[in-house]
Amino acid sequence: MQNRAKVVDENFIRRVELGDLPSSPISLSLADVGLRPPELVELFESQLMSRHLDLQSRLLQARGEAFYTIGSSGHEGCVAIGKAFDYRDMAFLHYRDAAFLIQRSKQLPGETILYDMLLSFAASADDPISGGRHKVLGSKRLAVPPQTSTIASHLPKAVGAAYSIPLAKRMKLDGGLPHDGVVLCSFGDASSNHSTAQGAINAAAWAAYQKVPMPLVFVCEDNGIGISTATPEGWVAANYANRPGLKYIYCDGLNLLDTYRKAREAAFYARRHRLPVFLHMRTVRLMGHAGSDAQTAYLERQAIEAMEAQDPLLHTARLLIDNAVLDAAQICELYEAMRERTARVAEQAIKRPKLKTSEQVMASLIPPKSNLPAFKPAMPEARSEIFARESRFLNEPQHMARLINWTLADLMLEQSNIILAGEDIGPKGGVYNVTGKLSERFGQHRVINTLLDEQSILGLAIGLGHNGFLPIPEIQFLAYVHNAEDQIRGEAATLSFFSNGQYSNPMVLRVAGLAYQKGFGGHFHNDNSLAVFRDIPGLVVACPSNGADAVEMLRACVKLAQEQQRVVVFIEPIALYMTRDLHEEGDGLWTHDYVPPAEAKPIQPGEFGQYGEGTELCILTYGNGYFLSRQAAKVLEEQHGIDLRVIDLRWLAPLNEAQLAEVIAPCAHLLIVDECRGAGSVSEALMAMVQEQIQDKRQALDKPALKVKRLTAAESFIPLGRAATCTLPSKESILALALNLLGKDASRSSVNVKTA
């Protein structure tokens, strides 16, 4: 046990026995706040359990039996918040809120919170929330989704979940959260400064300011310090007390009566008015940031002792004695009994099995199949109504943007839990009109025009996913994902993993991206790197190269999200949105008929597109690269007589390695064309795969090696204007490299070819 933990532990008994208890300026009685004596004891018991879990975690860590000592000591006042909210009110908790979870568990008979938390400390596979993957606070039954909450990245989804409640009520959707519920999220004073927290709080207030219902309570637990950096005195109140759209309530977290009264007020306000509340709770931090934290390096001894003197357990002891609920001896008896019980249960918990293999660890990366009822196809009358004004176009081939628009319309008609959300996607129809008229057809509650904040958009989607919706958020440009990537990387993609598959946040994230926009250019609208998505375990990344594929792939993505609860990213190549022709103006080869759902020819996840059956050359590509490769292929076939095939990967993660090996196998030459920058690109993975799965096998069989070349964009950002494409693969550079690979003379081509 670290010194300060020992001091805090010993202080408690000594000071209770001596009657040396901290005073409080608040004079409230039990009756004032509507608490009965046994309820105050119950809150105290939860505080004790939380404290002894902290102490026990340090003992277990010293024995090598526990792995995480960051604790809740000093924050135990949150038990009163745990009591003030119904256990069905979804709570995204601060990592110092063990006491909240303990108290909440008492609302539901049959919970085994002490044992369960110790299993979590011990990283046991039996841990009912994470299955041994992390020490997180969470519970499926208690509506506490797990997350690490260290950098306030859970706040945007709390806003989303809160937004989902009135929406579900309006749409008569039963997604699990009660229609009169509220959402709670807690965090520390330090992380309230995080841009993610600021964005989320701003988003909630922005919505409330314009009367959008937002039953949400932010709980800021202010212990005055973030690891070693002090929060300026009065900063949190100064920052949040006067925000438009946000009700500010302060409570003293050292005083259970005050905290309970204010927490009830906050819960009542948020539930009744469906407006956000900022509940600012004073706490202290005891025992340092974590077990390894030497506070004396940055705090004076007197400051540490001053915090310890304000131990909330001592404050509760005072309340118990002053209200004649318990005497000092009974309080000490409870304290020691809880220590002994915690230790005993710990000895059982640490014996439980641990995760041992990568298969066991990875078992929950992908969520289990959903048990949502299958959706029924839309009735023809409903379709006729929706497509009434489009009918004259329906029988003509269309470009990708319009085909995606119609696909979204059909999906929204068929699957009533789909919600679109993004910047300018409402009446304007998005910057490329892909969502045109959807707002008009399905209502602004299903096609949400969000504020300009990508973290909030993704948080909204995650939160909606927690309540039975299938969100299809849109990020306006690929370059804008980066400021919000943690919402996918750290939150959405990890939820199933950290909850052992119990929680999921299915979504299809539409991102307009990649380069080649004519007459435009510029990095921010032509970003050509997908590395941000490629390495996220469990994420599915789709990228259609043409409208017909986009229709079926988008349907497949929605099916993946709906039926398998997956997080799917759908990259829409902007340059191909309006492209109609492939080889020459007016050929219309890049337009396609819209195939209605009833006649769909599904494209399965991982299934490639293929042009040609030739074996002399295989071009492996996707997106704009496929479009350009098809142009080059015509020249290669017609002018050089090359027998080739062009493979459209379509699905960039996970790569269908087995099918790839199969399509490449009969070919003598392989050209990989990647419109993204080489570093971290899908073509890097393809090169590695070719070596590991094809070349090595060929070598083992004494077969000649496959001749391989790769063409990628240069390691540059995209410039403006005419220079916009000069760092990118082109029809010409594909042609040149293909001929070079084949050992052919490029001069026979009618186009001007530069050597790549």
Binding site: R36, P38, E39, V41, E42, F44, E45, P109, G110, E111, T112, I113, L114, Y115, D116, L326, Q330, L334, R341, R344, V345, E347, Q348, K351
Partner: protein, 350 residues
């Protein structure tokens, strides 16, 4: 160092032919003791009510099914045996850290934990037993969830729930889960439903489906009127906070200093009477949250031993995965001590 013990109080159906004379056998030699005084007060209460004293029932020459298993006799008889057993636990050796019970055993658990002081316990148990006997609404039937090795039979629960739902489709049939009893599922229902159940359940393991003689449809909504009657007759003032943590038939923990006695009264004569009793959950919460060194099952009888073991196996407690594991553990160093079994009883009484 004292061993930490969880105490389990038995319910109806534990005083059978073999148990006749239990009080005399295990508790007679203590005249003038607390126990003797308790028996005297219980007998006197019974006499005052015009009922047969329990010592007389226990002292009969022969076990008479229709007499000994009647609710108004069985309940106080089992109460007497179990409570006397509780008093016999060697407190020098064992520190009782939590108490739970099965079904009617909940009342005895309340008595053992002093949430019902002796006169209150006598009144509550005798009254509820008598109410049950007077009304005799429906009955109980048992069917296994586990095989003969005490391993869960895949699909069995779903099958039984589906069967229950199909029987309930019939207008006059009322069937419910009455008790989750380790490896056994106890149904409670009216005669129409129980007849259907009996006809439709395939015979198994030589004794199932098993109808419990003289038992009503305990812990089902059929007994709601009894619960209301009980609440009228037995006031909340009879209840006190327990001296030892109690775990009820939902798995809720009642702690000594934080028990709301009104709520305890309400649960005991409300939910507990007319909604399912989850003994398996009670046991799970007890072992996980209190980690006892031993589990002591009070007598009479030892019918609860199997259910306790099965409930432990279901949660793989301490690695137990089947009957053989349990038997082997019991041989080496018995984790479960049943006071109804003489060789284990001596380990408890010292």
């Amino acid at each position: 160092m004292k061993q930490k013990a969880l105490v389990i109080c038995p319910g109806r159906g534990t005083y059978n032919k073999e148990e006749l004379g239990y009080l005399q056998r295990f508790h007679a030699a203590e005249e003038g003791s607390d126990k003797a005084a308790f028996f005297a007060r219980l007998d006197s209460y019974r006499q005052h009510q015009g009922q047969i004293p329990v010592s007389e029932l226990d002292g009969r020459d022969t076990f008479v099914m229709r007499e000994h298993t009647r609710g108004d006799n069985a309940s106080p008889l089992i109460h007497a045996c179990a409570y006397a057993d509780f008093l016999s636990i060697d407190r020098e050796q064992f520190d009782v850290v939590a108490i739970t019970g099965n079904s009617m055993g909940w009342y005895i658990a309340l008595a053992a934990a002093q949430a019902l002081k002796e006169p209150a316990a006598i009144e509550v148990i005798n009254t509820m037993g008598t109410l049950m006997q007077e009304s005799m609404i429906g009955g109980q039937m048992i069917y296994p969830l586990v095989d003969e090795n005490w391993r869960l039979i895949p699909g069995r629960r779903d099958y039984l729930l589906a069967l229950m739902a199909s029987i309930n489709q019939q207008a006059e049939a009322d069937l419910y889960i009455s008790i989750e009893l380790g490896g056994l599922l106890v149904f409670g229902g009216n005669e129409v439903a129980l007849k259907q159940l009996l006809e439709q359940l395939p015979p198994e393991q030589g004794r199932f489906p098993l109808r419990l003689h003289n038992h009503a449809a305990f812990h089902t909504p059929l007994l709601k009127a009894i619960a209301e009657q009980g609440q009228k007759m037995l006031g909340a003032e009879l209840f006190e906070a327990p001296a030892i943590p109690l775990i009820d038939g939902r798995g809720h923990i009642w702690q000594p200093y934080s028990t709301d006695t009104q709520a305890l009264h309400q649960y005991t004569l409300g939910h507990q009477v007319y909604l399912a009793y989850d003994f398996s959950k009670a046991l799970e919460v007890s072992v996980k949250e209190f980690a006892p060194d031993r589990i002591i099952i009070l007598g009479p009888g030892n019918t609860l031993g199997g259910a306790v073991a099965q409930a432990l196996i279901n949660i793989n407690w301490q690695g137990l995965s089947c009957k053989a594991d349990f038997i082997s553990q019991q041989k080496q160093d018995p984790y479960v001590l049943a006071m109804g079994m003489e060789e284990q009883r001596v380990k408890v009484c010292g």
